[in-house]
């Protein structure tokens, strides 16, 4: 077998999932005590740590806007995140691209007029890379922002989907992403309104398959929203209990 069989005739993928199944998602808010908001997010073997500081005074005062706050996003990849240890420079274009994508997505939901002349900083650390980095980062950021108590109009839930062997596939892992010419699409939606804030695609996808694939990814976002919401509610419940006990 020269080419890796990504989808068996029985309809199972390399990791045993079916085409429309997400990987296992585990997440937790308030994992760091010193940050204003933080979250740890795992999707399969992809692991991300998100921290939020702010709103606070902008580090570079010249950038401050008089009517709203600015959002600053930094994305770093741990050298030990991939099977080959590799130190990535901060100015790596791929990282900057992801960071700016996340910034733009969140500027749309953060009610930024509440905090004029201030800055909200989001730091993302990819601890382990197994595909779907962008979606994991966005979901982790949502959790961390909620943890920090930043007012937002809605959650942002992101999910990726690809198109392999004539089949739309949800939530690609690294092996599937890395295989030759797999179209890989990430969409971030606001679950309540169903609007999209980010849509990104790599490689080529037949035009008439786009809708089908998008639909699958959106459905994935909806599932992720349920999970995130449950995590937030659990965390809030714990907080309430803590305060109640303290009183």
């Amino acid at each position: 077998m020269s080419r890796l069989e990504l989808l068996s005739p029985e309809g199972l993928r390399v990791d045993g999932r079916r085409a429309n199944e997400l990987r296992r998602i585990a997440c937790k808010q308030s994992v760091l005590s010193d940050a204003d908001g933080s979250a740890y997010y795992e999707q399969g073997n992809t692991k991300v740590l998100a921290t939020v500081y702010g709103p606070c005074e902008p580090r570079n005062k010249g950038q401050a806007l008089h009517d709203r706050c600015i959002v600053h996003v930094e994305f770093t990849v741990a050298p030990f995140s991939t099977s080959e240890r590799r130190q990535r420079s901060r100015s790596d274009k791929r990282l900057l691209e992801i960071a700016s994508g996340i910034r733009q997505a969140f500027e749309a939901v953060i009610i930024s007029t509440t905090y004029p002349r201030s800055e909200i900083s989001i730091y993302l650390h990819l601890l382990q890379d197994d595909g779907g980095n962008l979606q994991a980062c966005i979901n982790a950021t949502t959790l961390a922002l909620i943890d920090a108590g930043i007012p937002m109009t809605d959650y942002i839930c992101a999910c990726s989907a690809g198109y392999i062997d004539e089949t739309p596939m949800l939530d690609l892992n690294h092996l599937e992403e890395a295989s030759f010419e797999t179209p890989d699409l990430t969409i971030a939606v606001l679950p309540r309104s169903g609007k999209a804030t980010l849509l990104q695609m790599e490689s080529r996808l037949p035009a008439d398959r786009l809708e089908e694939t998008l639909h699958l990814a959106t459905e994935g976002c909806r599932q992720i929203h349920k999970l995130l919401d449950a995590a937030v509610q659990e965390n809030t419940g714990e907080l309430i209990l803590k305060y109640a006990n303290a009183i």
Binding site: M1, S2, P9, E10, L12, D15, G16, D165, E166, D208
Partner: protein
């Protein structure tokens, strides 16, 4: 549940159709994958994907209940076995102990895991393959035989790999004959970096020893062919393997020149661009089962050589304890491997097909060689299949139900429906109707009614699975293997006359200029009023007052309809022709059998106008359905496309035209159609030459195939030959599975019923189906041509067995540096006529000057040949110089009519094909110019009216064949033709003796084999 090791050794046993309800675990599959048993993996996939086998893959590794983690200190093999066993236990529990689960394992493993097996409480049975076979199939001798031969192969391989002393006695020669292969990873890297190349190993002409590997075009380099010169450089590759090759300089050995000359004859590439290579490794083995015959030899050891029927395959060394049992039989063998120190590949015996040259055995051999079935008996339908099918007997004829009629559009009273088919047609799948809609404006409604097979064959049912696996009805020369059971194909679905039948109809409204205004598709119920034959329809068209076999009132009722039909379809045909549709015809031959299986006559099919009318109606329906499907469900539509040909393949065609002084344009299908029209006009009456041109054009074209709508974009889905934008197969659901699927898709699309979404299939499943159907259709076609060849051989044998030469007129279709490619239009036989042996000796038969059929094996001394073009090209004319003879020079030109004598070459291990011997120019040569030049003596020499003289007869008799014919010369002239079985038997005996007693060979030599004897 066979485990990994059992599968690795005994996969062929599990391939037998007797084995059903197999469970394969993911563990076993992964283990096989790791051992690089890719062929076994593929076979497993085939078993699982065959719905008749009820077998599954179970993904036990990713299932919580059967997941088995490796324990500390446990070896991988042990864990795998434990995982496998755990899975079997789970199955047993899951089925609540009601189904017996049997794990098939090796004797050795059963010992090693005894404690594990004994600790089991669920009641899983573990046994060896042998014990299992003894218990369940003790009476199935062929299965046990297969087991034994596999077991022996296993034992031998274990011995070899362990390198024990026994091994050395097994292989007497210590020296290695072949170079070892490169490692797989190394090969892949080298292929990527372009140091070595990847291609398919093809034996182009086994007799002439030409092997090439075709390299795909890449990086600006065009597609090219590499010649693999000798046995050592072929390095154990077998026909159709995907190999890696390295380029080498032309070997400077004696005989190298010979390779070049053979190569000249057979490759298209010019001499300068030719390259040579050697095989350095095999990337993918494409071994299959081969039909073979044991070679006769004095030494009766345990090893025997099997000579495969397909001469492109080398002889296979097999082990068999009782060789007498399989001596004069056609057997099936499989190749296991080819060691570096062995001259032949090792294989094992699989099963017996039947006695040598027995008709049934030969038909079985065709089925196995083409991968259609393991034998004919598998192709009958069992009672299980017939369950639930409608019943139709003379006592209780099948009738449509009222309920179903209410659902359908009733055309029984509104439309005059009739069918046109060949005589004695049982499975009528199409009927036609035509009626006027708007007489004022000349608008007509043309109805094409196709049997509604999908109503009786629900998707996924047992019959459907069987039909899907068969894919098409296989027509052989004397029999056919139906895709659907007879009760459906010949009775309930068949659109017989005077009975109500369900149909799927396409009703086209056609305007006065042949434009299609509107089309209606849907389920209907019809009643055909007449089953017409083509000749009857033709008689109606020709205005014959009386038509044979038709009631005159009925004839008068049908006449206007048939004529109207013809007018409409002629219009449509003209439109299509203007778009560049090609008029191609093939030489199909039909065998007429007298009683008790004897061949009375071979006929070539003639096309009459009525054929064209029906054909055009079917094309119209297919086109309309194809377009509709693509509009409604482009993602899943099952279509048929015909890609435009590669222009370079027209070289032969153009060169032949050039030889006749024509310059033709083949750039588009319009241009090609125009070119063919020019040829037709120019050669007018010489229909054979027109047909030759058309055949050459057909050869240049690509094969049409089934595709799924989304695989290609719309312009690429077009049909080149028919010049249509969309095409599919819709009109013969009784004999093609593709049509059945198209019916389901069409009805699901028309009825727009969401629950029918399943019927449409997914794009993935349709693509799979297309690949399967294309493969099966090709196999069926090849089997058909094989059987034609077989029967042509029989016919020629029947005609020549009493020693009478069988002289026919033939046409030179191509001149190659070694011989003519000759076509006998009367019988549709093609073959090569060689005038030069492999070592370059020129052999011109005396019959060229004497025109006596008896002289075709006596070579004229000192003959030389000159031809008009440099070697490597197809020639236009060739000239024999015959010193000391009159005439001194004989010339042959392309498309010359010549006389050949047809013979059958006796052979034990191969199919007995027709060979030809040159007699000379046809006496009715159409070009008197040639007779004047160089062949002046011919007229007087060929004057005897009887083709055989008494001397010739006596000579033939002396030579042998006449002798074992019981009746004397007197009966030779009687018209009695021996029955086929009689012929077969005599044939078999003749051939067996001929090989065993080489000295007293019967007279049936070809020009070539005779030549080889003289040179020896």
């Amino acid at each position: 549940m066979p485990d990994a090791k059992t599968l690795a050794w005994y996969i062929e046993i599990f391939q037998q159709p007797e084995f059903e309800n197999l469970i394969f675990t993911q563990t076993a599959l992964t283990a096989l994958g790791n051992m690089e048993y890719t062929r076994t993996c593929r076979m497993l996939r085939d078993i699982v994907s065959d719905p008749r086998r009820h077998s599954v893959f179970f993904y036990n590794e990713i299932f919580a209940a059967t997941r088995t983690l490796r324990r500390a200190g446990e070896s991988l093999v042990d864990r795998d076995w434990r995982a496998h066993f755990t899975c079997s236990q789970w199955y047993r529990r899951h089925l609540e102990g009601q189904v017996q689960i049997i794990v098939l394992a090796d004797q050795e493993e059963m010992g090693r895991y005894r404690s594990l097996i004994e600790s089991d409480e669920t009641g899983v049975v573990v046994m060896g393959v042998e014990a299992f076979l003894q218990e369940n199939f003790s009476s199935n001798e062929s299965l046990l035989d297969l087991f034994r031969s596999l077991h022996e192969a296993k034992v031998e391989e274990l011995l070899t790999s362990s390198g024990s002393t026994d091994h050395r006695t097994l292989t007497k020669k210590a020296g290695k004959l072949y170079k070892p292969y490169l490692k797989r990873e190394e090969m892949e890297t080298l292929v990527k970096s372009g140091v070595i190349y990847r291609g398919v190993f093809t034996v182009r002409d086994p007799r002439k020893d030409l092997v090439t590997v075709r390299l795909a075009a890449e990086g600006g380099k065009p597609e090219r062919e590499v010649i693999i010169p000798d046995q050592a450089s072929r390095n154990r590759a077998i026909h159709n393997d995907v190999v890696a090759i390295r380029l080498i300089p032309l070997p400077e050995e004696p005989g190298a020149n010979n390779i070049t000359t053979t190569a000249n004859a057979l490759t298209d590439s010019p001499v300068e661009e030719r390259c040579y290579g050697e095989v350095v490794g095999i990337l993918q083995k494409n071994w299959r089962l081969y039909v073979a015959t044991i070679q006769q030899e004095g030494d009766q050891g345990t090893y025997h050589l099997a000579v495969p029927l397909d001469s492109a395959i080398p002889k296979i060394r097999i082990r068999h304890r009782d060789v007498g049992k399989i001596m004069d039989q056609r057997i099936v063998v499989s190749i296991d491997g080819w060691r570096e120190d062995s001259q032949y590949p090792n294989g094992h015996f699989v099963r017996v097909l039947g006695e040598l040259h027995n008709l049934d055995a030969e038909i079985n051999a065709i089925l196995v060689e083409r991968g259609i079935a393991t034998s004919q008996s598998v192709l009958t339908f069992s009672a299980k299949h017939l369950e639930g099918l409608p019943v139709d007997t003379p006592d209780s004829p099948w009738r449509p139900t009222e309920e179903e009629i209410a659902r359908r559009r009733d055309l029984r009273t509104t439309h005059t429906v009739f069918s046109i088919d060949p005589p004695n047609c049982e499975d009528i799948d199409d009927a036609l109707s035509v009626r006027s809609v708007d007489a004022e404006h000349g608008v007509y409604e043309l109805g094409i009614h196709i049997a509604d097979v999908s109503h009786f064959v629900p998707a996924g049912s047992l019959v459907d699975n069987e039909a899907r696996a068969r894919a098409t009805t296989v027509y052989l020369a004397d029999r056919r293997f139906n895709m659907l059971p007879e009760v459906l194909s010949e009775r309930v679905c068949s659109l017989r006359h005077r009975v109500d039948r369900y149909a799927v109809s396409v009703l086209c409204t056609i305007g006065p200029t042949g434009e299609i205004k509107d089309t209606w598709f849907g389920r209907t119920v019809i009643r055909s009023c007449c089953e017409m034959e083509y000749t009857q329809a033709q008689a109606l068209l020709d205005d014959h007052v009386k038509v044979d076999g038709l009631d005159s009132a009925l004839a008068e009722r049908l006449r206007p309809a048939v004529r109207q039909l013809k007018e409409l379809l002629t219009l449509i045909r003209q439109r299509r022709m203007a778009n560049g549709a090609l008029e191609l015809d093939s030489t199909e031959v039909k065998f007429q059998f007298a009683k008790s299986h004897e061949i009375k006559e071979i006929q070539t099919k003639e096309t009459i106008e009525a054929h064209r009318v029906v054909e055009e109606a079917m094309i119209l329906a297919n086109n309309e359905v194809g377009r509709f499907l693509y509009q409604r469900c482009p993602g899943v539509a099952l279509l048929r496309n015909h890609p435009p040909p590669v222009l370079a393949h027209f070289r032969r065609f153009l060169r032949a035209a050039e030889a006749k002084g024509l310059e033709l344009d083949v750039s588009t299908n319009q241009a090609l159609a125009q070119s063919l029209r020019i040829v037709t006009k120019l050669f007018g009456k010489q229909r054979e030459i027109i047909r030759l041109f058309k055949t050459m054009a057909t050869m240049a074209m690509m094969e049409a195939g089934y595709v799924c709508g989304h695989q290609l974009s719309a312009p690429d889905l077009a049909h080149y030959g028919l010049a249509l934008d969309f095409y599919t197969h819709f009109t013969s659901p009784i004999r093609r599975y593709a049509d059945l699927v198209v019916h389901r898709q069409l009805l699901a699309a028309v009825e727009n019923n969401p629950s029918d979404a399943y019927e449409l299939g997914t794009s993935h499943s349709v693509v799979d189906l297309c690949t399967h159907l294309n493969e099966r259709t090709r196999a069926a076609k090849l089997a058909q041509s094989d059987s034609t060849e077989l029967f042509q051989g029989l016919y020629v044998y029947q005609r020549t067995r009493d020693g009478t030469p069988f002289v026919v007129e033939a046409i030179i279709a191509e001149i190659q540096p070694h011989g003519f490619k000759v076509w006998v239009p009367r019988y549709g036989i093609q073959g090569m006529l060689y005038w030069q042996t492999r070592d370059g000796q020129v052999q011109v038969p005396r019959s060229v000057i004497t025109a006596q059929p008896g002289d075709d094996e006596q070579w004229l001394p000192d003959a030389t040949v000159t031809s008009d073009l440099a070697a490597g090209d197809s020639l236009e004319r060739v000239r024999f110089h015959l010193p000391g003879c009159r005439p001194k020079v004989v010339e042959f030109e392309l498309f010359d009519r010549i006389q050949v004598s047809l013979k059958v070459q006796p052979s034990r291990s191969h199919r007995q094909g027709v060979t030809m011997a040159l007699i000379g120019h046809s006496r009715h040569a159409s070009q008197p110019r040639k007779e004047a030049r160089g062949k002046r003596g011919q007229a007087s020499l060929s004057s005897p009216k009887t083709p055989i003289t008494a001397d010739a007869i006596r000579a033939l008799q002396r030579k042998g064949l006449g002798a074992d014919h019981p009746s004397g010369p007197s009966s030779r002239h009687s018209q009695r033709v021996p029955s086929l079985y009689e012929v077969m038997n005599a044939f078999r005996q003749a051939s067996i003796t001929s090989v065993s007693e080489k000295e007293t060979r019967p007279m049936n030599h070809t020009l070539r084999s005779g030549g080889a004897r003289t040179s020896r």
